[in-house]
């Protein structure tokens, strides 16, 4: 019910969808639609933000934004793909506090830039490691070497 309404409201922005069962749904969306869709989920439909997972893949950088609709146990993932060379996306932290830390963390570990973030300082390392090194990228090896 909630999903059908969402798909109707954002029919153009949803590129594809996938569901394992009625409790697990992923919507592949246009990165530009992330803020309006998240706002709709959070403010209108009462979804709870869980966390975001960044991935470094051959396609570039991907982020799954995990939302939960607790009355029915639904977990809805909003998936965006970002550019390999210049990964950036609008921040959600101006809307709610919950994304503040995880966006800073993804910025620090993956080098993804979050536009208009209120405070994009390092969360974990407070300047203790080399700038421009992103340990969670697949090109980074645990011995400190960076693959070309």
């Amino acid at each position: 019910m909630v999903l059908e309404e969402l798909k109707k409201t954002f029919s153009k922005e949803i590129l594809d969808s996938e569901s394992r069962n009625e409790r697990r749904v992923t919507l592949y969306i246009d990165p530009a639609a992330l803020v309006p869709m998240s706002e709709h989920l959070f403010k209108e439909l009462g979804f709870r933000f869980i966390i975001a997972s960044a991935l470094h893949t051959k396609r570039g950088f991907e982020i799954y934004y995990h939302f939960s609709y607790d009355p029915s146990g639904l977990i809805l993932n909003l998936h965006v793909t970002l550019d390999q060379a210049k990964p950036e996306i609008e921040s959600l932290s101006n809307m709610f506090e919950a994304t503040n830390w995880i966006e800073r963390e993804m910025h620090e570990l993956f080098g993804i830039n979050f536009l208009n973030h209120p405070n994009l300082e390092q969360l974990l390392s407070e300047g203790n490691w080399a700038l421009g090194e992103y340990p969670y990228r697949k090109t980074f090896k645990s011995n400190g070497e960076v693959q070309a």
């Binding site: 394992r20 409790r23 697990r24 959070f42 709870r48 933000f49 869980i50 966390i51 997972s53 960044a54 991935l55 799954y64 995990h66 939960s68 607790d70 009355p71 029915s72 146990g73 977990i75 993932n77 709610f96 506090e97 919950a98 503040n100 830390w101 995880i102 963390e105 570990l109 969360l123 974990l124 390392s125 407070e126 300047g127 203790n128 490691w129 080399a130 090194e133 340990p135 969670y136 645990s142 400190g144 070497e145």
Partner: protein
């Protein structure tokens, strides 16, 4: 603007069991702002998980947290089993829930004790930790370990709880139930605890939604969420129990929720033991030969709230990506709301009220040398670096 004084709590402070630095900016006795520094506990667990086989990851994630050491394997098992699409046997479901609830019991007892200690009420601390011991002994009997039980695997559990052990479990539970009555009386009816915790560190419903806080922290502010009921897993749909909530959102409400949850845990374990007797001994797992390509979401209700694991599989023997979100990650951020405007003495119990677990929160980084950008620091350098940071803090503020 009047001059603000910085009161540092941490990174190594008698009040905190783990390293974390809170900077309380105070005007007289009143906290005006709070900032925190994390990063003292980084172990790079998400990256490490990409190098281990699915079986080994269980042992790794179990070591994220020393207190709720089964909640991470629980969520990880749920996510991998979702990728595989497998249903585990009922006996394994009961065993998983028994372990999960025993853990909630000892974790809540630990918190009640610490909360008493933070308030200067050490009798509660002594009592709570004394009666936590039999629960840990029970774990030793069931799993071989007081903590880090290594009970979970993809498709079931590693060890059975033989029916002959059930009477011993029931005996400990009846003792813990009796002592919980005593603790509830000691905490809920004590005028000093009322005075110290009522109206202190209030989080409103909107604060909880904004910060996406979970677990007893959310339930104490009237946000009725619990993964065990909302997205049922293991044996939780097979037993009767209720989600405990409170409305006030203060420290007292959080204590109330945790204490009453202990009764629910005891009731869940009792019902699981009845269920266990009906199932055939030894039927504790489904053999899984291959983890297919795909992604899976697993969450579990840990003592502190929802633990969330997201696993991406590329069809190989190790996860291609493993994202972990521990409950304290969202709960700790609420300090910004709960501490500001309080006196310094109340700020400490407000910090403790969400039962923060820093090990869980900081699982993330790899330490590199600042000058070369390559090497991992040796012990001497870490000590020097620590002294340097302390000096910087003292000079700076």
């Amino acid at each position: 603007m009047s001059k603000q004084t910085l009161i540092p709590v941490g990174p190594y402070h008698p009040l905190q069991e783990e390293p974390e630095l809170f900077k309380l900016y105070c005007d007289g006795e009143i906290v005006k702002d709070v900032k925190w520094e994390t990063g003292y506990n980084h172990r790079g667990i998400e990256k490490l998980a990409e190098k281990k086989s699915y079986d080994e990851v269980f042992f790794l994630v179990e070591r994220i947290c020393g207190i709720c050491s089964t909640s991470h394997p629980f969520a990880f098992a749920n996510s991998v089993e979702e990728i595989v699409g497998v249903e585990i046997p009922d006996r394994a479901k009961y065993i998983r829930s028994i372990i999960g609830e025993l853990e909630r019991l000892h974790s809540h007892l630990l918190w009640v004790g610490l909360a008493g200690h933070f308030l200067g009420y050490n009798t509660v601390f002594m009592w709570a930790w004394k009666y936590r011991e039999p629960v840990l002994d029970l774990f030793e009997m069931i799993t071989g370990n007081r903590n880090s039980y290594a009970m979970f695997k993809v498709g079931g559990v590693r060890r059975d709880i033989e029916n002959q052990k059930i009477p011993a479990i029931e005996e400990v539970l009846s003792l813990v139930k009796k002592k919980t009555d005593m603790l509830v009386g000691a905490v809920m009816d004590d005028p000093v605890i009322h005075a110290r915790t009522k109206g202190v560190g209030i989080l409103t419903k909107q604060d909880i939604l904004d910060f996406a806080a979970v677990g007893p922290t959310a339930r104490a502010s009237g946000v009725d969420i619990d993964v065990r009921r909302d997205d049922p897993y293991a044996a939780y749909p097979l037993v009767n129990w209720k989600v405990i909530t409170a409305e006030a959102g203060d420290v007292f409400a959080k204590a109330q929720v945790r204490l009453l949850e202990m009764y629910e845990s005891i009731s869940i374990i009792d019902q699981c033991l009845v269920g266990l007797k009906k199932e055939k001994e030894g039927e504790t797992e489904v053999k899984i030969k291959h983890i297919p390509e795909g992604y899976g979401t697993g969450h579990a209700e840990a003592p502190r709230g929802e633990v969330y694991h997201f696993v991406v599989s590329d069809g190989s023997n190790s996860p291609a990506r493993h994202k972990i979100r521990a409950p304290s990650y969202t709960n700790i951020a609420t300090f910004k709301k709960s501490c500001v405007g309080q006196t310094i003495s109340d700020a400490t119990i407000s910090l403790a009220a969400v039962d923060p677990c820093y090990c869980c929160t900081e699982r993330l980084a790899v330490a590199l040398d600042r000058t070369s950008g390559r090497r991992i620091m040796n012990a001497k350098e870490i000590i020097e670096h620590s002294a340097e940071l302390t000096n910087k803090l003292l000079q700076h503020e």
